[in-house]
C-alpha cells in the first residue's frame, strides 16, 4: 500500500491548498452569489481533501489524522502542484485557474472511479459530480468575461496568461504516479492531458479569447515538495493556531 499513500497525498494536498485559497475569496467576490459559489467549490474541495488525507494516514501506517496531516506537516512534505498555491489574484486569474484545475480534476476523478483503492474510487465517484459543477461554473464565467466587455476580455486574457506556466505540472508523470498507475490505484497524469486541455481550449475559443503561447518557464516540483514563494506564507497562516496549541482538540 506504500505506493497508494504518497499518490493520494498529492491529490489531497491539491484539494486542501486550493480550498484554502478559495476560502480567501469569501466576502471578497464580485457579487454575493459568487461568494456563495466560491465557498461551495472550496467546501467541496475541502471535503475531498479530508477523506483523502484520512485515507493517507491509514495507508502510510502512521495513523495520522486529517488534522495531523494538514496542520503538522512542513512545506517540504506537501505534495500539491504550484497552480493551487499561487496567491489569490484577480477574478480573471481565479476563473482561469478554476477552469484549468476543474478540467483536470474531471478527467482525474472520472478515471479514478476504477481505482483499486476502494476509498479513492468512492471519493472519485462522488467528487466527479462536484468538479463537473466547478468546471461548468468556471466555463460560464470565462465565457462571460471573454465575451463580455473590452475590459473583461483583456483581464480574462491576462488571467489565462498568468495561469499558463502552471498548467504543464498538472500532467507531469513522476515516480509516485507511475507506481500508483502500475498498481491500479492511480492514473498517469499525462494521460489526462488531452481531454482536460481540450475542454479548456474549447472554452477559450468560444469565449473569443486566445490560448496563451508556450510560456517562457513552467512550474515544476510541487509533487516533490519543492514549492513556490507563496506556499510558506499560506502554511503559516493555515497552521499557526493549530501549532500554537499542540495536542489540543477543537
Amino acid at each position: 500500500e506504500t505506493v497508494a499513500a504518497p499518490y493520494i497525498q498529492g491529490l489531497a494536498d491539491d484539494a486542501l491548498v486550493y480550498a484554502q485559497r478559495l476560502g480567501e475569496w469569501i466576502s471578497r467576490a464580485p457579487q454575493i452569489e459568487e461568494d456563495m459559489a466560491l465557498a461551495n467549490v472550496g467546501l467541496d474541495l475541502l471535503g475531498q481533501a479530508r477523506v483523502l488525507l484520512t485515507r493517507v494516514g491509514e495507508l502510510d501506517g502512521t495513523g495520522r489524522t486529517e488534522d495531523d496531516l494538514a496542520y503538522f506537516r512542513d512545506e517540504r512534505e506537501f505534495r500539491n502542484v504550484h497552480l493551487v498555491e499561487q496567491e489569490r489574484a484577480g477574478f480573471g486569474f481565479e476563473m482561469a485557474r478554476l477552469l484549468t484545475f476543474a478540467s483536470y480534476q474531471c478527467e482525474l476523478y472520472a478515471a479514478l472511479r476504477r481505482s483499486s483503492d476502494p476509498v479513492l474510487a468512492g471519493v472519485a465517484e462522488k467528487a466527479l459530480k462536484e468538479v463537473t459543477y466547478h468546471r461548468d461554473h468556471a466555463t460560464q464565467w470565462v465565457l462571460r468575461l471573454g465575451d463580455g466587455t473590452e475590459e473583461s476580455h483583456r483581464r480574462m486574457q491576462e488571467g489565462l496568461e498568468a495561469v499558463a506556466p502552471y498548467v504543464a505540472e498538472l500532467f507531469d508523470d513522476d515516480e509516485t504516479a507511475r507506481a500508483a498507475a502500475e498498481a491500479g490505484v492511480g492514473v498517469l497524469p499525462s494521460t489526462l492531458r488531452d481531454a482536460a486541455l481540450g475542454h479548456v481550449t474549447a472554452v477559450v475559443e468560444e469565449a473569443t479569447l486566445t490560448e496563451p503561447g508556450a510560456p517562457r518557464w513552467r512550474s515544476r516540483g510541487g509533487r516533490a515538495g519543492i514549492h513556490s514563494r507563496p506556499m510558506g506564507y499560506l502554511l503559516a497562516e493555515m497552521q499557526h493556531i493549530a501549532r500554537s496549541h499542540p495536542g489540543a482538540s477543537w
Binding site: R28, D35, M36, L43, W250
Partner: protein, 317 residues
C-alpha cells in the same frame, strides 16, 4: 379606493401583506429600511468570522465555518430579494450601505481576536439574532416573514455550532479555556446592545417601536427581548462553565428574571456613529470587494445582453 382599508383589515386580522397589496408609504419605507439593514448585517457579518476561515484550527471546523459564512451570504440574498419586492433594487441598497446612508448591526464592528470569538459569535451574537428574528417570522409583511423562517432555521444551527466550539474549548487546555472566557468577556455586553437602546420606560423617546408594533412588524420591545435573551443565556453559560462579565447578574425570584448591570450606552452610540473598532475596516473591505468586482458584473451584464440579442436573431431567423 377601498384598498387602503384592506391594509388595515389585514393588519387587524394579523394576516400577511403581500407585495401587490396597497400599503402606506411609511410602512413600505420602514420595511425597506429594516430589511435592508438586516441584509447588510448579514453581508458585513461575513467578515468577522470570514477572517478565521484560513486559520481555523481543524479541517472540520474550517468546513463548518466556511458553510456558515456561506449561509450568511445566502441570508443576505433572501433579504435583499424580500426588500426588492418593495420596489427597490439590490444595487441601490448596496450603494446605500457603501455610502454609509444605511447601517448594519453594530455588533460587527467588534474584532474577532481569537478562534474562540467564532464560538462566542455563534453562541451570543447568533443567539441574540435569533431572539430578535423569531418574532419576525410572524411579521406582517409576507416576503420578510418567509425569509425569516428560513434564516432562523439556519441561525439556530449556527448557534448550536457556536456553543459547541466553546464547549470544546472549555473542556480543553487551560489556554483554550482562557481563550473562551476572554471571548465571552468581550462579546457579552455588545450582544446585549444588539437589542437596541431601551424603548420602554423613561428611556424610550419617540422611537419607531410603537408604530412598528401597530403594523405588526415588531412584536416585542427591545427591553423584553433583551431580558429573554439574558434569561436564556445565563443557564447556558453555566453549562459551559463560563463566567459572564457582569457582577450584578443574579436571579431575581420576585421578577422571575435575571437582573443584570447597566449597559454602557455611550459605547453603543459611539460605535453606532462610526467610532467603533472596526467600522472603517468593515466598510472599506466591503467597498473594495464591490469596486474590484465592478468589471465582472459589467461583463456579466454585457454578455447577457449579447446572448439575448443572439437569441432574438436566432428566433427571428
Amino acid at each position: 379606493a377601498a384598498e387602503s382599508g384592506l391594509f388595515d383589515d389585514l393588519i387587524e386580522a394579523d394576516q400577511r401583506i403581500e407585495p401587490r397589496d396597497e400599503m402606506p408609504e411609511a410602512y413600505r419605507q420602514t420595511l425597506i429600511r429594516q430589511i435592508a439593514q438586516h441584509a447588510h448585517s448579514e453581508i458585513i457579518g461575513m467578515q468577522p468570522e470570514g477572517n478565521w476561515i484560513t486559520r481555523a484550527p481543524s479541517l472540520r471546523r474550517k468546513a463548518i465555518l466556511m458553510a456558515k459564512v456561506q449561509d450568511e451570504a445566502g441570508h443576505g440574498l433572501y433579504l435583499y430579494s424580500a426588500a426588492e419586492t418593495l420596489g427597490v433594487d439590490r444595487a441601490e441598497l448596496l450603494d446605500r450601505l457603501h455610502s454609509g446612508k444605511q447601517k448594519y448591526s453594530s455588533i460587527f464592528n467588534y474584532p474577532t481576536l481569537t478562534w474562540a470569538d467564532c464560538g462566542a459569535i455563534g453562541w451570543l451574537v447568533d443567539g441574540a439574532a435569533i431572539m430578535n428574528q423569531v418574532p419576525l417570522c410572524r411579521c406582517s409583511y409576507g416576503p420578510y416573514a418567509r425569509a425569516m423562517i428560513r434564516v432562523c432555521k439556519e441561525e439556530s444551527f449556527h448557534q448550536r455550532q457556536g456553543f459547541e466550539i466553546l464547549w470544546t474549548l472549555m473542556r480543553g487546555t487551560e489556554e483554550q479555556q482562557e481563550m473562551a472566557q476572554d471571548a465571552a468577556n468581550r462579546w457579552w455586553w455588545p450582544s446585549l446592545m444588539m437589542f437596541g437602546p431601551p424603548d420602554t420606560g423613561e428611556a424610550a423617546q419617540g422611537g419607531h417601536t410603537e408604530q412598528s408594533m401597530a403594523w405588526g412588524i415588531k412584536r416585542f420591545s427591545n427591553d423584553d427581548l433583551r431580558q429573554k435573551f439574558v434569561d436564556m443565556m445565563v443557564p447556558q453559560a453555566e453549562k459551559l462553565g463560563l463566567v459572564l462579565p457582569d457582577p450584578e447578574l443574579r436571579w431575581n425570584e420576585e421578577r422571575g428574571h435575571y437582573d443584570f448591570g447597566p449597559i454602557d450606552w455611550d459605547e453603543f452610540w459611539r460605535v453606532l456613529k462610526g467610532d467603533g473598532p472596526c467600522n472603517a475596516e468593515r466598510l472599506t473591505h466591503r467597498r473594495a470587494a464591490h469596486e474590484e468586482g465592478a468589471w465582472v458584473r459589467e461583463a456579466a451584464t454585457a454578455y447577457a445582453a449579447k446572448q439575448a440579442a443572439r437569441e432574438r436573431r436566432g428566433s427571428a431567423a
